[in-house]
Amino acid sequence: MSSSSHHTTRVFEPKPSQPAPVTAAGPIAWLRNNLFAGPLNSITTLVIVAFFLWAIPPLLDWLLWSADFSGTTQQDCTSSGACWVFIQAWSQQLFYGSFPDTEIWRINLTLVLLALVLSSPYWLPHHLRNRLDLALLVIFPFVAIAILDGRILGLEYVSTDFWGGFSLNLLLASASIILGMPLGFLWALGRRSNMPMARSISVILIEFFRGVPVLALFFMGSVMLPLFFPEGTNVDKLLRVWIVLTLFMAGYMAEVYRGGFQAIPNGQYEASAALGLSYWQTTLLVILPQVIKVSMPNILATSIMLFKNTTFLLIIGIFEVLSTAQTALTNSNWLGGYATEAYLFVGVVYWICCFGMSRVAANIEKKLDTSHQS
């Protein structure tokens, strides 16, 4: 601008930017926007906070501060809080049922095997995965029975009357899910089939097992199933329950797969037909993987439901975890009214399992979402 010789280059130096006003960013703004936006909002916040202040201290006091943790008998529960001694004393029963002490390793082994089988897609070598995975899954229930029962393996025989506790819930649920999934797929295929007989039979099966209260199914399993077998055959109670749970799972799974089938574009069938694949090749190699992918969240949701429903077995006299808790509560050495502790404990254990599974479902859903839509 100026032609003066004293021209010096001036560099533009921006002023340091000011921090955002406290009302627009930072914790105060967050509080204003999320807890105190307007009078109604503020009142709600205050009411909720007041409720917490009123409810939480006594709750914590009962749960922890004045609770009893150590000891072995009811006499050790002297304070006003929760009696966690009760849970401690019954923990083995709650988890393993009345399985003989010396044989508990068999349950642990089965559970470890279950974990290995379920996690096999992560550790099996790539080229073995597809076939071995499925085989491992389907074999698992029978291996588990062999280990727990013991007769085939030359171990001490443990009658199913002694199986119980939370491990029974876990094993029964997984055994039923594992067998119910392929069976349900078969039914779902039948429902889509062009053969009228196959279709109607599948529809009847699916609608029956979905429409009937699961309790009625258990009841039929224990009251009516024995009538169906030739006189003298004695089918084990747990085996009957397993059959019922598997069929129940299959009914629900078939419906889940139906949704999955609907999401498969027709082009997939046409493309496999063009490649000359047979019906079963198309179904197992092209359609099934995609159906499973699409319906994975629902498969897990249904599995969670089945897992929760294993508590219903209490009603037909199987010593699953809730039934063990009920037995413990009526034990003459523990008649102090520890219902809240027992239910809280079982509830928390169940909650951890189910919530964990639902998180896994959400993660898989996110991971499998290859649609690039968002």
């Binding site: 807890l35 936006a37 009228p196 077998f229 929760k308 009603i315 909650w351």
Partner: protein, 397 residues
């Protein structure tokens, strides 16, 4: 196909066993034969077993005396009544707990589902915590928790909690005042009917006004006014429609009024809280399925926030919500069979439990009970499908 030149020696059509139609017939015949044989085996075995155990067949038992008492009955019942009557007692109790559960769970579910979208962070967190807690704990455990831990800890009859000396809550149940019809009752009922008719007419009229002239009438306030004013007027003219019979403490227990037994309370509470969590999740999913552009567009044309929810978001969300509600309601009815765990006399407890034990006629009783659950669920499904037709998207023709 025929254009393809076949290799020498195979000029004939494909073998008949490679014809898909022939195969289909063959497979189906095989399927039917196998199943038929299985069914035959089952029936034969069942008949043989029943004969061996001396179980009678047929529905004659329905007219014989049941001989057991039922804890709670909506229709007059005593031990000298027939098994058929126990069936209806149980059925009504099932319908009662299901209806109460459905209404309350819907209310809780919608409140919690909408609360998920509150601007208040604490409310949002509470809604999420509610859903995640109660969805992931087995229903039976929740029933036990309410029944054996919460309701069993209530005070004894003498130390009842009371609300205005009219409503009492103690370990034996909830005691409510019972309305007794007085002289003015008939006029009152007529007034209520007229009020409802008037409200329906008002809604139609208001819709027509809005469609024709764009005028919005304060429909809700007017409806509420009519609903209160007309019956009130009727009571003034015709005299008090009801008097109330209050529960009274006599000896160790309350007499009079309406008694809600703890079994019913625990079951209804558990069903409400459990199903409510699933409905809240359905409502959340439904609302989330409405594109955010809808809210923005509604704001840009100047709708109030409350109207946006009511007029724009919820009607569109309903398309997603209603089918989910349908299955939640059905599972609530099926889950009500858990009543048997705490001894609430629903159909399952009374009929499949006690009656079956006494008569041993498993097939007939299970068949009747399943037929009822199917029928109830079909009814729900039918109603929800009708409702769904109303809320579903009307596409351009």
């Amino acid at each position: 196909m025929s254009a393809v030149k076949r290799p020498e020696g195979s000029k004939s059509a494909p073998a008949f066993y490679n014809n898909p139609n022939v195969r289909a017939v063959f497979y189906q015949l095989l399927l039917v034969a196998t199943l038929g044989y299985l069914v035959f085996l089952i029936i034969a075995n069942t008949l043989a077993n029943m004969e061996a155990r001396g179980i009678k067949t047929g529905f004659d038992f329905l007219t014989t005396t049941a001989g057991f008492d039922i804890l709670m009955s909506l229709i007059p019942y005593d031990a000298t009544d027939t098994y058929l009557r126990t069936f209806f007692v149980g059925l009504l109790n099932t319908i009662l707990v299901s209806a109460v559960g459905i209404v309350l769970a819907t209310m809780v579910g919608f409140i919690m589902g909408v609360a998920h979208f509150s601007k208040n962070w604490l409310v949002t967190r509470l809604a999420v915590a509610y859903v995640e807690t109660f969805r992931n704990i087995p229903l039976l455990l929740q029933i036990f928790f309410w029944y054996f831990a919460v309701l069993a800890a209530l005070p004894s009859a003498r130390n009842s909690m009371s609300l205005g000396e009219a409503v009492f809550l103690n370990v034996r149940g909830l005691y409510l005042p019972a309305p007794v019809e007085e002289a003015g009752a008939t006029v009152f009922y007529i007034a209520v009917a007229v009020a409802i008719a008037a409200i329906i007419w008002l809604h139609r009229y208001a819709k027509k006004r809005q469609d024709d002239e764009g005028v919005q009438l304060p429909v809700w306030r007017l409806s509420l006014g009519i609903l209160i004013a007309l019956p009130a007027l009727a009571s003034v003219i015709g005299g008090a429609p009801f008097s109330f019979e209050y529960p009274e403490l006599r000896g160790f227990n309350f007499r009079g009024g309406i008694t809600v037994i703890p079994e019913l309370m625990a079951l209804a509470l558990a069903l409400t809280v459990y199903t409510g969590a699933f409905i809240a999740e359905a409502v959340r999913a439904g609302i989330q399925a409405v594109p955010h552009g809808q809210t923005e567009a509604a704001r840009s044309i100047g709708l109030k926030e409350s109207k946006i929810m009511k007029l724009i978001i919820v009607p569109q969300a309903m398309r997603v919500i209603v089918p989910l509600l349908n299955s939640e309601y059905q599972s609530l009815v099926k889950n009500s069979t858990l009543a048997t765990a705490i001894g609430y006399p629903d159909l399952f407890t009374v009929f499949v439990g006690t009656s079956l034990n006494q008569t041993g006629q498993a097939i007939e009783i299970v068949f009747m009970t399943l037929a009822v659950y199917f029928a109830v669920n079909m009814t729900i499904s039918l109603c929800m499908n009708l409702f769904n037709r109303r809320v579903s998207l009307v596409e351009r023709k």
